[in-house]
């Protein structure tokens, strides 16, 4: 049966084709647009919050009148954010960006669309499960967002939801419910990704011939599979504390606002921190590994030569995956944990930095001697290398117990992880969007506006996050509602203004990106089938691929990055090209 017959069979209903689709490509695009929506809403929240940081106590311009009228009276009276609303924005920004924005973008969108194509599969192993993952993610995410509408508002205890504060604060019940739904969605996705990668490979696609992106998604899926259930369990326990009156996290004799809390007690607040970070440290690698995979694909293609150290990159990724389960407590050096345990986590943390540096080194070394094509996706991939480097290296002082005593909970931490996740992951995924857009829609994004977007974004991101290192070293604590309330913060207050203006400018530079995407989808011209002259299997089928992807099952004859092979007619040989190319 050929692909046209497939297509016609599925033309019947709009609903089964675009809404409740079983096709991994449609589900991937659903994830793409939904996660972009969540990323924008999380970005919107932080733009509002940054006004308070730059100009504390002043009414928000432009939207101030609107929010004071739309929101409950005591949240933003006269357009000035109150501490209560500020805390909601902070907690929801973190939650939305991590769990509803970047993971669904890196795994749900890119993984779903590209992974089956790169291994030559007709679809995911479990198409129905795949659809269910999306249809849990969307309502879970909307529930999270809708918690702003509740009396008392959304969760306001930070994205880490530390107990016992989170158990006492309003809004947390819906946060927990939404998290359980989102985690379930991720778990189904992880089962699907691992099974697909292991089982659905085309003939000849051995593990050693899989592109680095596939490896990165595989390791990511294992992390999701094994690290998310502990947070699910921890969330269930916190939910019980809030709903059923248990005291898993409430110690005996807890006093709140001058009164003894009515609870049986006997719980352990530090238990939540352990369980939360047991997920949330592997989660960091869930955020960064797919980005590394995307960058590896683009760099191999853009340098026109095989990736330097394919085996070392893959080995490092697997090692990172394993190690990421034994570093979690470096987030907790100041939580009263025994110092002996601190030493253990210090050592494991230093060890896990080695493979990350190895991956980065291989990627940088891959540039040597390459005939680099400075296309838009390549620019993003090249920017990833130093920027992720800054993010990674600034993490080392946080992993050393002695320096962490000073830096813990300062803006330095915020600067560090935003360099990893924003200038690292988001830059890489933006590059990936330019790279695979011709695959998704058969059209190429405009190059000029792509470069405008690139330079503006890179400049503004550094403008947002670099000042945070200076603030953090000056001792400015994170999560402060009014940064001018303490004298020692005043010296670095201008940094907040720089950071905020950069954030708003960063938003303006996303407009060409969004316009570019929608203009190209509707008005763009079709481009050739393999515009980047890439070797991997996703380019061996039509763009966009029909239902079932490949007309006939591809047969793989070689590794993923056969660029500039000596004696070859052209500078690339596709993975499915027969021996005599």
């Amino acid at each position: 049966m050929n692909s046209n017959a497939h297509a016609s069979r599925h033309e019947a209903s709009f609903w089964s084709r675009y809404v409740f689709s079983l096709d991994h490509k449609v589900i991937g695009l659903q994830y793409l647009f939904t996660s972009m929506f969540f990323l924008l809403s999380g970005f919107g929240m932080i733009m509002l919050l940054r006004w308070q940081l730059a100009f504390p106590g002043h009414p928000v311009p432009l939207v101030g009148g609107l929010i004071s009228r739309l929101l409950p009276a005591d949240w933003a009276p006269g357009g000035v954010l109150t501490p209560q609303f500020y805390n909601q924005l902070g907690a929801m920004h973190g939650t939305i960006m991590v769990f509803l924005g970047i993971v669904p973008l890196g795994v749900g969108a890119f993984g779903n669309y590209i992974l089956p194509l790169q291994i030559g599969a007709p679809d995911m192993a479990f198409p129905r499960l795949n659809m269910m993952s999306y249809w849990l993610y969307l309502p879970g995410g909307l529930l999270m967002l809708a918690s702003f509408l509740l009396p008392g508002g959304a969760a306001q205890s930070g994205w880490t939801s530390y107990v016992p504060l989170s158990i006492i604060n309003p809004g947390q019940t819906v946060w927990l419910l939404a998290m359980v739904i989102i985690i379930t969605s991720s778990l189904l996705g992880a089962v699907n990704f691992i099974t697909t990668t292991l089982n659905m490979r085309a003939p000849g696609m051995t593990l050693g011939r899989m592109p680095v992106f596939v490896w990165s998604e595989l390791v990511t899926a294992v992390l999701l599979l094994l690290a998310f259930p502990p947070l699910e369990a921890a969330s269930i326990l916190q939910l019980m504390d809030r709903v059923a009156g248990t005291s898993f996290y409430l110690p005996t004799g807890l006093v709140v606002a001058g009164q003894a809390l009515k609870a049986s007690g006997g719980g352990q607040p530090i238990l939540w921190q352990h369980l939360f970070w047991f997920l949330a440290h592997p989660e960091v690698y869930v955020l960064i590994l797919p980005a590394m995979g995307v960058v590896a694909e683009i760099i191999a293609n853009g340098t026109r030569k095989p990736l330097f150290g394919y085996k070392e990159i893959v080995g490092s990724m697997i090692f990172i995956g394993g190690m990421s389960f034994v570093v979690w407590a470096h987030h907790m050096f100041l939580s009263g944990m025994t110092p002996a345990l601190g030493n253990f986590f210090l050592v494991t943390t230093m060890i896990i930095s080695v493979p990350s540096v190895a991956v980065l080194t291989c990627l940088i070394w891959s540039l040597k001697g390459g005939s680099i094509r400075f296309t838009t996706p390549m620019l993003f991939a090249l920017a990833f290398l130093p920027l992720f480097g800054i993010g990674g290296l600034t993490g080392l002082p946080l992993g050393l117990t002695v320096t962490d005593i000073y830096l813990h909970d300062t803006y330095y931490v915020i600067g560090h992880f935003h360099y990893v996740v924003v200038t690292g992951t988001i830059i890489a995924l933006m590059g990936g969007t330019y790279y695979w857009f011709p695959k998704w829609f058969g059209k190429r994004l405009n190059d000029f506006w792509g470069k405008v977007h690139f330079w503006g974004t890179v400049a503004c991101m550094n403008g947002v996050f670099f000042p945070m290192f200076i603030q953090g070293l000056a001792g400015v604590q994170r999560r402060l509602y009014d940064p001018t309330a303490q004298l020692h913060n005043l010296t670095t207050q201008p940094m907040n203004v720089v950071s905020s203006f950069s954030a708003w400018l960063l938003f303006l530079f996303q407009i060409p990106f969004l316009v570019n995407i929608f203009y190209t989808i509707f008005k763009g011209e079709r481009c050739e089938e393999n515009p980047w002259e890439a070797t991997t299997l996703e380019w061996a089928c039509a763009s966009p691929p029909p239902h079932g992807n490949f007309d006939k099952p591809p047969r793989v004859h070689r590794g993923p990055y056969e660029y500039s092979a000596p004696g070859a007619r052209k500078d690339w040989i596709a993975q499915n090209a027969p021996e005599a190319a």
Binding site: T195, L226, L237
Partner: protein, 198 residues
């Protein structure tokens, strides 16, 4: 229809590893379930070690009923294996006899459990009473949810089998249901001594 097209529509199986998709998927799912319950058991251990005093399980809980329920679940695992054997042997009547028994035993488990819960509530023991009952109700409640999940899956499979008895994947799906059901059984085998006997 090519192998590729067949795989898209669930008519055939792709298996680079030699393990069918469904079976591999269930094993992976069980790995995540192990992490879920391992976390809860760890919580139990941590809270118990740090507690100044901890009630003896057999003084607070009904050991005979718990032991009976253990027996019921183990028996249901046996009938589940027999159902799978009958499905493999293409014995339709035998399959329905044993899957029916498995379902009946699952309901017996839930009924006994609900009597236990009722007795606790009558004596004024709730999750909020103390940390012991918080652990007891949360762990057994989550396990009961897994039993209900098993009932839903097994009865769905039984209904599906009435029309799709000759489906090539049928026996494989019974095996997957069995894997899950044994897992639910094993969790209880850990729960029973941990809560009732220690």
């Amino acid at each position: 229809m090519s192998a590729q097209a067949a795989a898209v529509h669930g008519g055939g199986e792709y298996a680079s590893t030699g393990i069918p998709n469904g079976k591999l998927g269930v094993w992976l799912f069980l790995a995540s379930e192990i992490m879920l319950f391992a976390t809860l058991f760890t919580t139990y251990v941590v809270l118990r070690i740090s507690a100044p005093s901890w009630p003896r399980g057999w003084e607070e809980l009904n050991v005979p009923l718990g032991a009976l329920n253990t027996l019921v679940l183990i028996t249901s695992s046996v009938t589940m294996v027999l159902a799978y054997a009958k499905a493999q042997a293409r014995d339709k009547a035998g399959f329905y006899r044993y899957i029916g028994l498995t379902l009946a035993l699952s309901f017996v488990f839930l009924i006994i459990k609900s009597f236990e819960y009722k007795a606790k509530f009558d004596r004024g023991h709730f999750p909020s009473t103390n940390i012991f009952f918080a652990i007891y109700f949360t762990l057994t409640g989550l396990h009961a949810l897994h039993v209900i999940g098993g009932i839903v899956f097994n009865s769905g499979l039984a209904l599906w089998g009435r029309r799709h008895w000759d489906h090539p994947l049928f026996a494989g799906r019974v095996e997957c249901a069995g894997l899950y059901w044994h897992f639910v059984d094993i969790v209880w085998i850990f729960l029973f001594p941990a809560l009732y006997l220690l």
